[in-house]
Symmetry: C2
Subunit: 334 residues, 2 copies
């Protein structure tokens, strides 16, 4: 194999503006691992990047993609944690939409025993996000009363299982009534967002994991109990129906509150915002998070794969994700 | 004894506007405990109340005071946790500046073995504040890198010991260079606030306990590491030199930031604000906090009593506290 394939963002635009292209193979450098990629994870941030609405994105043209699963095809000098032929999962922090990647060994982890290559590719970003939100920021405890918004998404599915494993009571929210059964199967109580807002008896929470951002932040913060905390994960309310709708994005940003610390003294609560992909630019945290993947077997976590697209159909995968049809992770298969 | 004494706020004003007055004795009601008070704790919030700058204060005239130590003189029907003659500490949530109080038994706790009546009166508010900030909000962990501002104050002294007991590395800050030795004796590294700001290598903290509020919040937040948290305890920069200085109070309030959640995504940190006295209006939390006083013996916590004034000298006690001469708790003796 003297060439591999990759999917690049060469210009901002609709889902169909992604470019499928060939690239020459280069051997892994010292401390690096080359992986024959079987599955690449598709994230909401990739959609935001394609729309041109993601400040941390590299300059165009670039290959998006934060995570892969596959088989080690070659190792660079000094690599000891994996060997050729091993099945692995890895965080790529750009460049993951490719049939082959060469990345630092600290980002590579042996495929958990209870995972397949397919479910493995659904792990890194979502697991790291859930881990950072629940355990590094909120520091969840047994007995906590927790709300997970978007409990059927890639992060929410894992976060719900991880919160349950930590001994928390979990309420899972969804905008789609037909997904409530899926949430209940994870051991949580399920409500639609509208039902949650309408039921004022739902309150006193120790932790709310907010995904939709915008005006939902203030509406949900009122449901925190004394000393409770919210962790904001993003602004999914800012993109809808697959259109590069700057008005909607601007509206969600405008509606994202500024929290008055003076008023916070009345609430006696806390607020965090997490950009996991930002945290994962720090090699110390990358290594820490990669090692924390041992919990996947220990807690018997099952990431939920929503749909697998052929890599050449990456545009359709983006369209599927941004129209909110997805339950669980969207993958590209090579 | 058919009368007892109390100190009331009848009008807002200087430290010398406090009124010493007599009051008839009434027996404790069902579930209540009457205490012959030996010491009453003086808090910064009492000073703010006397200045008319404390929204949660009762209507004038009222008796301030959040905590006492003393001897049980009488118990109401159904009280089982203490008996007549027991030495106790108690949170009073107003009314503590008095030679006798009758309060719910859930607010009363046997004097810890390692405390005297004097150090016991220094416990409730400061211990509850430190407990809420470190364990209920921040959820401090072994190995955390922690900054305690005002480490020589009533809360800071206990918070420093409690953070050390939790296995954290602690940096203690003070505005007074001569108090650094006191901080070091508690097992923390000591810096003046100016030294801390000048040394840009001091960063990556998991927790900063901020006491001064205002512009210090943003200056200190920059020193948080990824996923780190700040707990704001107050706005001590707003009162100085014992004057009812509304310009200074307004300035500190104006300088207290509004935190943009959008920018919080770049910082990947969290912020809490704690008004412990507000939390302690909730009987569930009062009972939980009172029970948590078992930690005082377990951790061998030593509250630091700064100065004891005769109850009739309450005005001098206020003046002493607000001019920042205090290291540790200021008490009134009956």
């Amino acid at each position: 194999m003297s060439a591999h394939h990759e999917i690049a963002i060469e210009k901002f635009g609709t889902a169909h503006s992604l470019t499928y292209r060939d690239r020459a193979i280069v051997p892994p450098g010292p401390g690096e691992v080359a992986i024959d990629v079987k599955y690449s994870g598709v994230n909401f941030a990739d959609v935001q990047m394609r729309l041109g609405f993601y400040p941390d994105a590299p300059k165009k043209p670039f290959v998006p993609g934060y995570e892969v699963s596959g088989v080690v095809s070659e190792i660079g000098a000094g690599v000891t944690n994996v060997k050729k032929g091993d099945q692995v999962v890895a965080g790529t922090y750009f460049g993951g939409y490719a049939s082959r990647v060469s990345i630092p060994a600290t980002q590579v982890f042996p495929l958990p025993k209870n995972a397949t290559l397919e479910t493995g590719a659904a792990l890194p970003v979502n697991y790291f996000t859930a881990q950072l939100a629940l355990h590094d920021m909120a520091r969840i405890r047994e007995g906590d009363k927790v709300v997970i918004e978007c409990a059927t998404g890639g992060v929410g599915t894992l976060a719900t299982q991880m919160a349950r494993a930590a001994g928390a009571e979990v309420v899972g929210l969804t905008t789609s009534p037909h997904k409530k059964g899926f949430i209940e199967a994870l051991g949580a109580k399920a409500y639609t967002l509208d039902e949650f807002y309408a039921d004022s008896t739902l309150g006193g929470f120790d932790l709310i994991v907010n995904s939709s951002g915008g005006a939902h932040i203030q509406r949900q913060r009122k449901r925190l109990g004394l000393t409770g905390r919210m962790v904001c994960l993003g602004m999914s309310s800012g993109v809808k129906d697959g259109r590069r709708n700057f008005a909607r994005i601007a509206l969600a940003a405008l509606r994202t509150p500024r929290i008055s610390v003076l008023k916070l003294f009345d609430a006696n609560t806390g607020i965090y915002a997490l950009n996991a992909l930002h945290v994962l630019r720090d090699p110390v945290w990358v290594e820490r998070m990669t090692k924390s993947l041992v919990a996947v077997d220990k807690l018997d976590l099952k990431p939920h794969v929503g749909k697998v697209f052929a890599a050449k159909e990456a545009g359709a995968a983006h369209a599927f994700l941004e129209t909110k049809q997805a339950t669980g992770k969207v993958l590209l298969a090579w």
